[in-house]
Symmetry: C2
Subunit: 101 residues, 2 copies
DNA sequence: TTCATATATCGTAATATCGCGATATAAACA
DNA sequence: TGTTTATATCGCGATATTACGATATATGAA
């Protein structure tokens, strides 16, 4: 894991809303049960936006931060952007922290 | 672990200099072998300051941030302030992240 | 094509963080 | 007492982050 990415990941984790989003995405069936689209696609940005209560643009920026840090992935299906955790990266981060912190 | 402290800890970890300091304090005999005082006391602030290359006031603020987050502890001996890791807290943080992140 | 929906980007204001020098405080020493 | 050493705190400018509304872009539907 590059130092730049480690820095980006920890900066991304340093905001409570972004941690909330990661937490919700861990069990989408628990937090986004009402999504029309199958949760196997991920959770669409609008759902996350409404759950935070913040503005659309703010949440879009938070999601972009998480994605730049490699902590989430997104796929575009039609007009929707579905987000899911990048658990491999998250596990790598945890392993790295356990080792080096 | 309270949410406030989790937030403080992750914010503290989101700066590379503070992560460096934590890393150095993990093996003080490796990074501060030239300290006049026994390393069992911890590493004194001035040593850390010179290792970072930053100003005294800046490093003092970083150490205060780490301490508020509970990631390091300090003891005052004479005119020196010795810092060491709070490994119990760090382990608790890692456990919490492994569980909830 | 026009309209509605979903998301990203832009511009901006408010706030937080960072780093510095200057100064305050406290301890040790002459 | 005054002086030096070690650290903390203050004040400030520079930069980064956060949040917002407005607008742009893209997709899909009418």
């Amino acid at each position: 894991m590059s130092t730049v990415t480690l820095d980006e990941m920890l900066k991304a984790l340093s905001h409570p809303v972004r941690r909330d989003i990661l937490h919700w995405l861990k069990q989408p069936e628990l937090y986004f049960a009402d999504q029309e689209h199958p949760l196997s696609l991920g959770v669409c940005a609008g759902k996350i936006e409404r759950k935070t209560g913040l503005s659309q643009s703010t949440v879009s920026a938070h999601l972009a931060t998480l994605q730049r840090a490699g902590l989430v992935q997104s796929k575009k299906v039609g007009q929707w952007h579905f987000f899911c955790r990048n658990d491999a990266q998250i596990q790598q981060l945890l392993a790295h922290l356990s080792q080096d912190l």
